[in-house]
């Protein structure tokens, strides 16, 4: 999933300052899973902003709505019925959600309430970790299911560097060395030979070379 965290409240207040009627738009997918922008968090933020408007004796209409997926057109379109009532939308979606809403409703300002962080997993209650950078050419097979591009601080494809000690990364002794994990997993599956191969420089042309990436599949189109 895509993880995110709520921006500091003062930053949010500063961005919405010019507007009176504001729709807080939550998203019940990834950002709900990471407790940043789901229905519950949207209600909490709305209530905080209402309270702070009241304390400042500022006239404000702050309402909330949460859609299932803010990054999917079909879920955004029904907002057409209500969006004209507002001066601005404060989105609790990830960066993709914010931009999808902005693309469809080009007449109204869309303000991000979250900082989008990374593609990751929920490791535990209240604990999310990054494990994919979306490079477009998955190499997890070669590395025993541990991605060094994401999880090695130096993104080494032929690691490890000289800095791992007791299985931990030199950058942060709390962080396991990705190469230690790769080594352990490949040893377990008797596949250390995969580390004898030199992995050549990665081809980044797909990820970075042609602007924002897109996937077009005719078999999925109507």
């Amino acid at each position: 999933m895509i993880t995110a965290e709520q921006k500091p409240i003062d930053e949010i207040r500063e961005m919405i300052e010019p507007y009176e009627k504001i729709l807080l738009l939550g998203c019940d997918s990834c950002v709900a899973e990471c407790a940043a922008g789901g229905e519950k968090e949207t209600a909490m933020l709305a209530s905080t902003l209402r309270m702070s408007a009241k304390m400042d004796e500022k006239k404000a209409l702050i309402q909330e709505k949460t859609v299932d997926r803010q990054c999917v057109k079909d879920f955004i379109l029904p907002l057409a019925e209500i969006i004209d009532r507002y001066d601005a939308v404060l989105s609790l979606g990830c960066g993709a959600g914010v931009q999808a809403v902005a693309e469809i409703f080009s007449e109204i300002p869309i303000i991000p309430a979250l900082n989008t962080e990374f593609i990751g997993e929920t490791r535990d209650q209240g604990y999310w970790v990054e494990n994919c950078i979306g490079c477009g050419d998955c190499m997890l097979y070669y590395f025993g299911g541990v991605c060094p591009l994401t999880r090695c601080a130096k993104s080494l494809l032929n690691g490890p560097c000289g800095g791992s000690k007791d299985g931990k990364c030199e950058v942060d002794p709390e962080v396991p060395c990705a190469w230690q994990l790769i080594f352990e997993r490949l040893s377990r599956f008797n596949a250390l030979d995969r580390l004898e191969k030199i992995y050549p420089p990665k081809d980044w042309s797909e990820k970075q070379g042609l602007g924002p990436r897109k996937i077009i599949r005719e078999d999925q189109q109507l």
Binding site: A153, S155, L156, N158, G162, F183, L192, P201
Partner: protein, 310 residues
């Protein structure tokens, strides 16, 4: 212009090679380089110039190497992959060779979070092994990565580092083998204090026949004080100083600790000479280039060989 790497000559001739390290200044100060150059002249075969080590901004390795060339010395250009992508790296390799630099040492580089620009973006477009692959391709095939021909191929003796003290040991050997197949002609190791572990690593390397395919230079660093020893052991990644040496440093008064550090360094070199497969020494006297002369003299590594330039 130097036709050939002096380091390569010494190794090709079967002599024990000696290299030292010269850290560029934190300023646009050419005199600092020339001063260090004079301390090392005649004491070593080649001088490594570090590339923004510990991610602290310093004069570039390439420029400092060019100053050493002008002083008639044989520099080893250290290149880290932290700060430059493959376009910049290949461009620097061509420039280095054009200026007469004949040795390159390919490294990952200390992570940017350790230095004085922790907000910098780490590049890591290539890793150190890929950098060797690219350099070797440029040198041996006369093309850049991807196949476009060069008007003139760079002439470079390619080096890599190895850390016998980092974990896991088995993976260290796999990586050493990979560095050799990627193009390493010589290896400089992390500084050796724990000889038992170093010998274990060398034994494993010998089991795979690696010392026959590459010239291994054992790294040594004289300890300046017991405080430095403690700092290095606890704070510098990949440094393994056994208790016995810690106690020895602590056991002498402060004003004699520098001398004790040199004694330990000389003894380490003498012991390493007995280790089968060692082709030379890389003396990293950190901001203490004055120590190198005494170390090489007492370790019976003088005079340095000289051959007719051809």
């Amino acid at each position: 212009m130097r036709a050939m790497s002096q380091l390569k000559r010494v190794l090709d001739n079967g002599d024990m090679a000696v290299t030292a390290e010269c850290g560029p200044p934190k300023g646009a100060d050419s005199e600092a380089i020339f001063k260090k150059a004079e301390l090392l002249r005649g004491k070593v075969d080649a001088i490594n110039v570090t590339d923004n080590q510990t991610a602290i901004v310093r004069m570039s390795s390439l420029s400092a190497c060019s100053l050493l060339i002008s002083a008639g010395l044989d520099p080893v250009l250290q290149v880290v992959v932290r700060d430059r992508n493959r376009i910049a790296l290949q461009s620097d390799i061509l420039g280095a060779s054009a200026m007469g630099i004949r040795n390159i040492l390919c490294l990952s580089g200390d992570h940017q979070s350790f230095g004085n620009q922790p907000e910098a973006m780490g590049v890591f477009d290539l890793d150190s092994i890929q950098l060797m692959q690219v350099t070797k391709t440029m040198r041996d095939k006369g093309t850049i990565w991807g196949g476009d021909p060069l008007t003139k191929a760079p002439e470079l003796f390619i080096g890599a580092v190895a850390n016998p003290f980092a974990d896991p040991l088995e993976l260290r050997i796999i990586r050493l083998a990979k560095k050799i197949s990627a193009g390493a002609n010589f290896i400089q190791t992390q500084c050796v204090y724990n000889l038992d572990r170093f010998e274990e690593w060398m034994n494993m390397a010998r089991d795979r026949g690696l010392p026959d395919q590459v010239s291994i230079l054992a790294g040594v660093t004289p300890l300046k004080s017991s405080r430095m020893a403690q700092y290095m052991r606890d704070r510098v990644s990949g440094i393994d100083i056994p208790d016995e040496l810690m106690n020895r440093m602590q056991g002498v008064p402060k004003n004699r600790q520098r001398q004790e550090g040199i004694n330990i360094c000389v003894e380490t070199i003498q012991r390493l000479k007995e280790v089968q497969g060692i082709r030379g020494f890389h003396i990293m006297a950190i901001e203490w280039e004055e120590a190198v002369g005494e170390i090489v003299e007492r370790a019976d590594l003088l005079p340095r060989p000289s051959y007719d330039q051809g």
